[in-house]
Subunit: 555 residues, 2 copies
C-alpha cells in the first residue's frame, strides 16, 4: 500500500473535487519559469531536440523492426525518429501476462501507482510539450497544458472515478439469515475485483494525451493492461509518456508490459488488428466520427468507449455583452486553428440580427465585427502564432481550399497563411468564415476539420435553436454555445439542447477560452449524440472496466 | 418529493445493505399465514382463479387485437387468458411520450415512486405466486419468493444502485479559476441527468419477475420508460405486475405508459421487432445463451444487459461434512427440477473418490449415496411436489428422453414422473443423473435445460478443477461449487474460478438451498463468461442507463 498511502491526500482532494465540481488541480498548470525548477523548460526542450533524427529507445517485447514517419507542422520536415514496429500477437501475449500479476495487487495500490506515474509524467511536461507542438501543431502554451497538467488532471479525474467505483464494493461480509425450520445460516463472503483484459487506447493526432491519460489510468487502476496506439503523426508524445510509465512500473517492481506502445504509419496501419484481436477486451478511441461509429458497430464483443467529433453550434439570440461575445467567439475560432473537438463551427444568427447592450446589431454588422476582431487579433504574427499554432494535417488546407470556392457559401473572412515568427515553413492558416443560408445544411452539417466556421443566416433565434439542436442530435456536438439575455429563451434552449443530448455553455463572454473543459467540473461528451458514447469522467466511464467475482462458504 | 420522503428510511437501509452486504429485506419473505393479513393468501388464490378463461384487462395504447396462449405445467391445460396484442410502433411512440414528463421529475422522486410500486407489488404476491406456479411450474413456496419478496429485493437492490449512481452527481457547482493575466473567472454550472430512451425488458419462462424487477426499476429510476416482453408461456405474472405498476403511476399523476406490456406467442414472436426498433435504447434480456449472444452481437447500437445460462460445475476435492455435501447437492438437483440458472449440472468427481469425514469415499459410493438421497427425498409425493415443482416446457422432457439413451452416458439415477398430489396431470420429472467420462465433454459442456446432472469421472481433483474452470470460461457459469477440506486446494480453486470469470460457492453444506442468491449480498452473474454480460446489481448495471447534460454560464 506504499503508493496508495503516499498519494492518499491527493486522492482525497480529487474525490472532493469530483463531488463539488469546484476548481482543483494536483499539477502546476502554468509553464511559467517562476513555478518550475530552474532550467526545467530548457532541459525539456533539449531533451526533445535530442530525440530528433534518432531511434527512440523503448525496450518492449515483440519488436520486429522499426517504424514511424512524423512530420512537424512547424518545419514540415520529418522528425526522423523511429520506434519499435511490434508484432501484434507478441505484445498481446505480453500484455496478458502482465495482467496476471497486476490484478493480484490491491485496487488501492494500483490507484497509488497511477498517481505515482501521473506525478512522474508531470516532470516531462516540457519535453512532451515540444513533442506535442511538433506533431500536433499546437502552440507551446497549449501543448504544455494539453499534454501536461490539463491532460493529467483528466487522467486523475478518471482514476478517481475508478477508485470510487472499486471502493464501492465491500471486500468481505458476514451474512446471517434464518431459513425457517432449517435454522439460522451464517456465511462468510468475499468479493474480488477482476479486470476484463487488454485495453487498446487509440490516440488522436491533435491532442495525443488529453484523452489518453484518462483511458490509461482508468484501465490500469481497474487491473487492465494497456496498449497505446498513437496516431501515425503523433507518436513522439505517446512514446515519451509510455517510456516514463514503463520505467515507473518497473521501478516499483511491476511488469512494464502493463503499458505498451504499438506505433504504425499511415501506409501500414495496425489499428484494426489491435481492436479486433481476441485478447482485446476494452477499446478507448478518440478520433473521427466515422471510425468511431465503425468501432461501435464492429467491435460489439469489446467494451467500447468513444470520443469523436460533432459540428458544435453557437445560437445567438441576444446579449448584454456584445464585446465579450465577439471576443470570446473570435478566440474560440482562432484557438489552435479550431482543431479542437470543442471548437465552435456553426454560428446560427438571426437574419435580422439581434439585440445587444450596444443596441440592435444586424447580421452584417455582426459578421463584420467578428471578422474584424479576428483580423486585428492575428495581425501581429507572434500573437497569431500563440493563438493559432499550426495546422496538423495538409488535409485541413485542402478542406479550406474546397470551401473557399464552394458556390453555396460567401466568404465573410478569408483564410490566409500567417507568417510564423519562429518557423518560416510552418503550415498555418487563419480562420475562414463563410456566410451560408440555413437551407445549406449539407454544407455545414458535418465537422470540417479545419479553421472554418459558418455564419448561418437563420429566420429567427427560434429557428436557429431548432436547427442547432437538430444538428446536435443527428450529427453530434461536444460543446454548444448560446448567447441570450432572455431568461425564457435560455431556459427553452437548455431544454432543447438537453433533449438533443448536448451540453450548453451560455453567455461565455468571460476572459477565458470559451471552449475550455475543466477536469473535475465539466463533463466532457454526453454519450447521447453521435459525438461519442463515453464521458470524461463519470461512473459509467469506469464501472464496467472491472467485474466482481465472489466467494462464499459457511462461517 | 412526496414518495421519496415516504420511502427514505427504507432506501437508507438498502444503501447500507448494499455496502455491508449483510442480510436485509424490505419485504415479508415467508407466505406464512401468521405474517400476512387474514385471508391474504386465499384472496390471492381467488384473484388468480378469477383471471382464468377471461380476457386480461390492461388498458394500454396500441391494442390491435388479443393474443396469448399459456399452458399450465400443473394442469397441462391452457389458462384461457388473452392479453392486448399491441402495435409495436404505437407502444414505442407512447413510451417515448411518457419519457418526456417522467424525465422532468427529480431522480429522487422517481426512486420514491419505484419504492411505492415495489410495496404495492408485494400486496399481489399471493396472486402472482399462483400465476407463476401455473406458467413457470414452480412450487408454491418458490413462486411466492421468486416472483415476490426475493424478486422485489433484487428490484430494490438495483433501484438502490441507480440512486447511488445518480446521487453521485452534483446538481450544481460554482467554479472559480484564475486565468493568468485575464483574471479570475467564476462560472455557475448545473448538471441534468438524462434518460437514454425506451428500455425493453425481456423476461424468461421460469423466473418471470426475478430479473424483471431489477431491470424495470433500474430503468424507471434513471428516467427510461419500460416495455416488458414476457415469455409466451409466462405472460400472466408479468401482466399482473404491469397492471399494478401502471395503476400506481397513474394514481400518482404520471403517465402509465412508462410501463407497457408487449405480449406475444411462440407462433407470432415480436421480440426482435422490439429489440431492433429505432426507439429502443436499452435492452435487458434474460433467457437462453444463444439468443443473448445474438442480441449482444446484433443490437450493438443499444445498451445491452444479458443474463443467460451456463453449465454450472461442482468440483469435489474432499469434505469434512459428507452428509451436508450430499444433502445440499441433492436439494439443488431437485430444487424446481433444476430449472434455475444457478442449479448445478456438472459434478466433477475424482475417479478414485475423495477423502471425507467418514473416511475415503469411492466414486461409486458417492454416486450411490447421492442417488439414494434423492430417491428417499422424493419418495413421498407431497415432498417431491414441494421440491421439484413441475417441468415448465415439454422440451425438457424431450431432453431427458434423448439423454436417457445417449450411448456415452450411463444412468446413475433414472428420471421418472412423480405423482403430483394435487394436480394429477402435472408435467413432472425427478432428477436424472448420468455418469460420464471426462472426455465426453461435448455431452455436458452446454446447459441442458432439464432436471439432469452429470457425474463426471475425473482423473483427479486437479483435473476436475481444470475441466470445470475451462467449461466456465468457454461455455459460461452462473454459480459454481467447490467441496474441499484442504485450504491450499480451496485457494487454488478460488484463483482458478476467478480467472475463469466465475464466482465460487465453497463447502455449501449448510441447511439452506446451496444455490440461493441473496439480494444486497450475492452478486449474480459476473459478466466475465458467456453466461451474461451484466450483474445484479453493481454500479455497472445502472451507471450507463442515464447520461449527464451540463449547463454553464458566468456567475
Amino acid at each position: 500500500m506504499q503508493h496508495f498511502l503516499k498519494h492518499k491526500a491527493a486522492l482525497d482532494m480529487a474525490v472532493e473535487a469530483c463531488a463539488t465540481r469546484e476548481y482543483w488541480s494536483a499539477f502546476t498548470e502554468s509553464p511559467s519559469r517562476t513555478l518550475h525548477p530552474a532550467g526545467a523548460h530548457e532541459a525539456g526542450k533539449t531533451a526533445f531536440e535530442a530525440r530528433l533524427n534518432t531511434p527512440f529507445p523503448l525496450d518492449q517485447p515483440g519488436e520486429i523492426g522499426r517504424i514511424g514517419f512524423e512530420i512537424s507542422p512547424y518545419t514540415q520536415a520529418p522528425l526522423g525518429i523511429d520506434y519499435p514496429h511490434v508484432d501484434v500477437d507478441v505484445i498481446m501475449s505480453a500484455s496478458k501476462t502482465a495482467m496476471h500479476s497486476w490484478k493480484a495487487i490491491s485496487p488501492e495500490e494500483r490507484v497509488g501507482l497511477c498517481f505515482e506515474m501521473a506525478f512522474a509524467l508531470e516532470e516531462q511536461c516540457f519535453e512532451n510539450a515540444y513533442a506535442t507542438m511538433h506533431t500536433a501543431g499546437q502552440a507551446f502554451l497549449m501543448a504544455y497544458s494539453g499534454s501536461g497538467p490539463n491532460a493529467l488532471d483528466r487522467g486523475i479525474e478518471a482514476l478517481t472515478y475508478a477508485h470510487k467505483a472499486m471502493s464501492d464494493i465491500a471486500t468481505s461480509a458476514t451474512w446471517t439469515k434464518p431459513f425457517g425450520k432449517a435454522g439460522v445460516v451464517t456465511l462468510k463472503k468475499s468479493y474480488r475485483l477482476m479486470p476484463r483484459g487488454t485495453a487498446i487506447v487509440v490516440c488522436c493526432a491533435t491532442f495525443p494525451m488529453w484523452n489518453a491519460y484518462p483511458a490509461i489510468f482508468a484501465n490500469l487502476a481497474t487491473g487492465n493492461p494497456v496498449i497505446v496506439k498513437p496516431h501515425p503523426n503523433g507518436i513522439l508524445p505517446v512514446a515519451i509518456a509510455v517510456k516514463k510509465m514503463r520505467a515507473i512500473l518497473e521501478g516499483a517492481g511491476h511488469d512494464p508490459n502493463l503499458v505498451i506502445m504499438a506505433a504504425d504509419t499511415r501506409d501500414a496501419p495496425i489499428t484494426i488488428d489491435l481492436l479486433q484481436h481476441e485478447t482485446t477486451a476494452i477499446i478507448d478511441y478518440t478520433g473521427s466520427q466515422r471510425f468511431g461509429t465503425w468501432i461501435e458497430k464492429n467491435c460489439a464483443d469489446k467494451l467500447v468507449f468513444t470520443e469523436t467529433a460533432g459540428c458544435n453550434g453557437v445560437v445567438i439570440h441576444s446579449t448584454d455583452n456584445l464585446k465579450g461575445l465577439i471576443s470570446g467567439l473570435a478566440n474560440a475560432l482562432c484557438g489552435f486553428s479550431a482543431q479542437m473537438c470543442t471548437s465552435p463551427q456553426n454560428i446560427h444568427v438571426p437574419k435580422d440580427g439581434f439585440i445587444s447592450d450596444e443596441g440592435p446589431i444586424s447580421f452584417n454588422e455582426f459578421k463584420d465585427r467578428l471578422s474584424q476582431t479576428i483580423r486585428d487579433r492575428l495581425a501581429e504574427p507572434r500573437r497569431a502564432a500563440a493563438m493559432c499554432g499550426a495546422i496538423q494535417a495538409d488535409q485541413s488546407l485542402a478542406i479550406l481550399r474546397d470551401l473557399q470556392t464552394d458556390p453555396r457559401a460567401q466568404i465573410a473572412l478569408d483564410t490566409r497563411p500567417y507568417d510564423h515568427p519562429e518557423f518560416p515553413n510552418a503550415r498555418t492558416a487563419t480562420p475562414l468564415i463563410l456566410e451560408v443560408g440555413a437551407k445549406d445544411r449539407p454544407l455545414y452539417q458535418e465537422e470540417h476539420f479545419a479553421p472554418v466556421s459558418f455564419l448561418i443566416k437563420e429566420e429567427s433565434a427560434e429557428a436557429a435553436l431548432e436547427n442547432a439542436t437538430t444538428l446536435a442530435r443527428e450529427f453530434g456536438a461536444i460543446s454548444s454555445y448560446l448567447y441570450s439575455a432572455d431568461d425564457d429563451f435560455t431556459e427553452k434552449a437548455q431544454d432543447a439542447f438537453a433533449n438533443a443530448g448536448a451540453s450548453l455553455w451560455c453567455n461565455m463572454t468571460v476572459p477565458m477560452p470559451i471552449n475550455f473543459a475543466a477536469a473535475y467540473s465539466d463533463f466532457h461528451v454526453t454519450g447521447l449524440n453521435p459525438a461519442g458514447n463515453a464521458c470524461l469522467s463519470d461512473l459509467a466511464f469506469v464501472a464496467n472496466r472491472f467485474r466482481i467475482v465472489q466467494f462464499r462458504s459457511p462461517a
